[in-house]
Symmetry: D2
Subunit: 409 residues, 4 copies
Amino acid sequence: MTVSREVELEGHIIDSGMMQSCFGIIMDLGGSFSVQEFDIGRHKDEESYARMLVEADDEDQLQSIVHELHQHGVNPSDPKDATLVPAPDDQVVPHGFYSTTNHPTYIRHDGEWVEVEDMEMDCAVVVEDSDSPRAYTKVLNAIEEGDLVVTDETGIKVQPPERPRDSSGAFGFMQGGVSSERPSESTIRKIANAIEETKKEGGKVMAVCGPALIHSGAREDLARLVREGYVDMLSAGNGFAVHDIERDIYGTSLGMDTESLDHPRHGHKHHIYTISEVIREGGIEEAVESGTIESGVMYECIDNDRPFVLAGSIRDDGPLPDTITDAVEAQNAIREQAHEADMVLMLSTLLHSVAVGNCLPSTTRVVCVDINPATVTQLLDRGSAQAVGMVTDIGTFVPILAEQLLSED
Amino acid sequence: MTVSREVELEGHIIDSGMMQSCFGIIMDLGGSFSVQEFDIGRHKDEESYARMLVEADDEDQLQSIVHELHQHGVNPSDPKDATLVPAPDDQVVPHGFYSTTNHPTYIRHDGEWVEVEDMEMDCAVVVEDSDSPRAYTKVLNAIEEGDLVVTDETGIKVQPPERPRDSSGAFGFMQGGVSSERPSESTIRKIANAIEETKKEGGKVMAVCGPALIHSGAREDLARLVREGYVDMLSAGNGFAVHDIERDIYGTSLGMDTESLDHPRHGHKHHIYTISEVIREGGIEEAVESGTIESGVMYECIDNDRPFVLAGSIRDDGPLPDTITDAVEAQNAIREQAHEADMVLMLSTLLHSVAVGNCLPSTTRVVCVDINPATVTQLLDRGSAQAVGMVTDIGTFVPILAEQLLSED
Amino acid sequence: MTVSREVELEGHIIDSGMMQSCFGIIMDLGGSFSVQEFDIGRHKDEESYARMLVEADDEDQLQSIVHELHQHGVNPSDPKDATLVPAPDDQVVPHGFYSTTNHPTYIRHDGEWVEVEDMEMDCAVVVEDSDSPRAYTKVLNAIEEGDLVVTDETGIKVQPPERPRDSSGAFGFMQGGVSSERPSESTIRKIANAIEETKKEGGKVMAVCGPALIHSGAREDLARLVREGYVDMLSAGNGFAVHDIERDIYGTSLGMDTESLDHPRHGHKHHIYTISEVIREGGIEEAVESGTIESGVMYECIDNDRPFVLAGSIRDDGPLPDTITDAVEAQNAIREQAHEADMVLMLSTLLHSVAVGNCLPSTTRVVCVDINPATVTQLLDRGSAQAVGMVTDIGTFVPILAEQLLSED
Amino acid sequence: MTVSREVELEGHIIDSGMMQSCFGIIMDLGGSFSVQEFDIGRHKDEESYARMLVEADDEDQLQSIVHELHQHGVNPSDPKDATLVPAPDDQVVPHGFYSTTNHPTYIRHDGEWVEVEDMEMDCAVVVEDSDSPRAYTKVLNAIEEGDLVVTDETGIKVQPPERPRDSSGAFGFMQGGVSSERPSESTIRKIANAIEETKKEGGKVMAVCGPALIHSGAREDLARLVREGYVDMLSAGNGFAVHDIERDIYGTSLGMDTESLDHPRHGHKHHIYTISEVIREGGIEEAVESGTIESGVMYECIDNDRPFVLAGSIRDDGPLPDTITDAVEAQNAIREQAHEADMVLMLSTLLHSVAVGNCLPSTTRVVCVDINPATVTQLLDRGSAQAVGMVTDIGTFVPILAEQLLSED
């Protein structure tokens, strides 16, 4: 005896690979299927439709197949309302809670599909039951006793974004995966265009920055991009800010003069002295106001009111007074920025890029730049619909990008 | 008109490279020198002695030369007491405070040399003035108003450890730098010997672990090493513990069955479910006691009373109740462990290894294992006297190490 | 006015992704299509069938679409004979010659489909016209005046191998791509099974070896695998053989004792002395016979009649008398081995693995092991249907593999 | 009973590390020493002098110590003539032949020191005995029967170049080792200066180029550098030339349009078509003359008479008629270029850079650029006195370098 459920697929289901994934999932999980209706888009613009009966040996197996299917956008043809169970305690989710993907998601409540707000992956979905019900994600540690948490698999619809077919637009190149075998200058030109297009659409650009950006001499050009409004907000670590400010106060980065390449012998102390100076002032903003800090990325953020998050880590010296040392608090600050961003530039940092990437829906544009191909691969592996990775030297990338953006004004 | 100061060098000053460094520093910084007395060790066991007059154009230049020299173990022949200045406020050091190296260091106080306790780099030195004066390091954020902080360059003696000449002992191979071109099994055998020797001396072994250790299937063997007492304490991140416990509860790591290599299609949810289960229980110890967790690295730590530190980071899911999310608190916990360790195994984690490395004096033995040569190079670059790096697969390293250690019992 | 052609797809055309690729190609190249017949496999075992009309703006565009389609296994529904043009000169192909993929390929000649022999990519196809016509690949430099070379796109059928659905067999894991996040010992166990299965089927295993295999201490275990018949033939460079023989004669590799890790100070001369000794003897076989070489990989090859190819390169010292210094001759020797191999182990060499990979049809099993993830990715990127990459240390991989294979006998 | 020999050290023997190496060697090899005379340079400009008695347990040990010492520039105080033994056969050196370092070397013959010509490492030294005797290196495969080959250790003087103390000149930065943490644009500016300085001195600049240079879009700028005379000669592989010419004929590299980043679907055939076209013409020069090739690096080499060597390898398609497929012949051609070069730019190729590096004396300036830090490390590890490595993207490096060099004219 087998159990079965009917599911539907709609859209460019062949072209997008959805149908292939669907067949694969069913077979991988040991189920079987029969196609009951199949209406193929006869031209390239037409959508297709398929209705299938999924069969499994028992209810458990069927559930796990249907669970996988719906994560790939295949939904039951007879949707029911989502199951809501109150959280038994703060930070404790009900058993069998639904853990999110990063794709646009809808919850069926009182027979209506409600879009889930603030989509990001590995969260619970909480529904506010009212006349106009809302659904939104919550990370586990934010769950409060009594929150109505979506559990099980029913009443949930996931819509993985289709990768745009047309590669001719400003963002068309952003599906190219990672390659160190692409022409560097042309790729940077494309990225510059995508940033301009995003700004023209009124979008916000977020830069996620690692300290290598400073060591490699790209600080001044990033500062210009912040000043000129091509970077709307910034996420980095304590070290990034310290290196940026060290360059301002002492002219060095990691103790090396970034112009002359000289390495003043006592330069390795500049790092810790810089921290000490900023602590003495009370913070970066205070140090800018007092004139202690007169240039650089952090300076331009303060001077032009670009919000920044400095997240602490266990390898920090200091930390600076501005650094959020609690990881959960820092995540919340990053999350807020990430949800506002329309395009994210991940510049030479794995830790902070992963943290930001964790909070992004799959619809946000992502550019990821690092000299380590493994880092770029790992960051692009998160299923964004428009993402491009570039294996290059951040110390030449930022200057060329800035030249592209600033000389075209 | 020039200024000058007399300095002394003692020990195996040619063999250790000290004399060469010293000449280099003086010339690099634009000074000059004349050798006033030079008594070379005529045989390989004899120590040498040199007395030199260092000359510079002005007092600033002289100070900076003497500063560099003393960081390499060259000390003024006419030592004065260290200068102590009270900290003006909490977390605020006096101007010109002395920032430490990770080498054994002595402070001259009331004409006596006092050894600085808890040596680690980039700290201030605080002196407790009393009948039996003490000196110890303090990180910047731990400074309290009124602390007597060592400033300037006088009255400080640094003793970089000499690398042992004799390479025949158990630790003799631990000066080999990084290489992926060394025979793997022989190197692991040497590391096993060094661990045994450390245990025989009554020393403590600390393991610093990244999640790759679990993914790569080395979990069971590390657990055995913890159980059998070859690992006395453990430092890791939230992710390591979650992956370890996921393997226990669901048989997967990152959703992959580590035995069959099957990838149960809903396995990617195991990670977040694991966190949820441990939160529900209240913590790892509670989950062990209740029987929810029955095996693995964390289980053995609990079961055998091996202390562990789980430090949070902004890329964590969860986090687990045991994870210290505040970076400063986590550093303090790591610091305490690091100061107790006689040998540190850095296993496939850059972030946590740097954090631990920051707290280690240069006399602690360090073994660093990673598949990325850049990580190993970066970690070995901290000036430990006995350190070895190995570019290998942690998933084969730990099993072979465990076999060496456990079959020899 | 548009031009059009009818094409057919057969098999697991959705499950295998063929249909998706096909739609993508047409749209990427600016064409359009209408599906004229679509018969979907209603159960997982049934094959599907589709007939489509491909439309384009002009004949050029249509040709290029049809060209791409047929490289993905989509064939015209009205096949014509292939066009044959005689080569105008030695090493000179006719304009518009057909350049091969590495997939099984058929040429239509006199109304019959003839399978192309010795498939490999980037070759011309030469047809021998006779009562029983043959078709085979020729590399450009082997073309002789008058060879009948297939040109244009008609009359050619390509069949990309389907990736096996069922992952439960001995080779089921060999579609896993590259990952450094898989359990190492379990993966090696799977590879051992696949080797055994290949041998049971009467297949031949070819090892492609880089010098790192020797430096990392895996020499003895590879030698055992050669002796015991798990490696049937070997492809390597001059350096590999020299390092292997140096270990035999001097006990060192790159001048380091692979047991004690000691580095005899004059050890760096062993390399060049080894070459000199073998030249003096006249070759490896002579040196084995005279007793100069008494153990190791090359010794076992000679002693057990396992054919080997040593290909020269511009970085060689020496070279040994056995080394084929001409690249074209060496390629021919490698090609002959590659065409005989049923399974290829690529062990820590990019250069030789690429050379071998260039000669392999897409149906040969490939295992690629390297500590550099970029190397593994590059090697797996060649479209073999059964290939697996492992990022690990060759110095632990070979010993564990040998233990698996040799202890199970 | 011990044996002993007296040796002398002269020059900046402490500052250069020579004395330290010398003590280390003796102790590592189990010998002992007593310093008999030591005259230290009392100021930074004065040279030092030391005379030591080296003692060992037997003549073998003593020889091996003295052998090592003299490779580091320590020479016996009582030099004898070098021992010359005729080669017994073609390609066969006498037993115990002296294998060279890459440092300037002198052979004592008839009581006179004769400088060895064409220094490179791992060669034999052949002496032409006549009124004005000459000594020069020969690789093993070039040895002819009867050649007088230097054997044993006596009568040989090696002078490792001292690294220049003064870092202020045009080449002062070229001792910086490898770092990805240096400011990129400033470093490129320094390299540009060093190239200009080399040209001003009448020196020759050799470029060693990998295909990544073309894929990454740097082709046009390298072509300009060739045209304008900043590159005097070029060493590359078959693939580099093919990719360069593909870009000219088809506008693609690896099938990708390097301007638009479009990937024409049939573009992957361009590579093999390009080879076919050049074979048809008879060679690159013929294809330039006929107008088939109209631009690019190879075009500029032909057009401006810059000699080039294209060395074949087993992974080549084709090869082109210009490619030297025999590794030994190719080495000889590379060797000739390398001996003429005053500065070598190694641009994104490990294989060809190692081949060139093998032929360079330690006095040639070397700049090594690659995106893979392991490649840069390996290439810099050859003991050149003036070498700098840069971990960067060749696709941005060459354009910025060209801008520096060409805009300053």
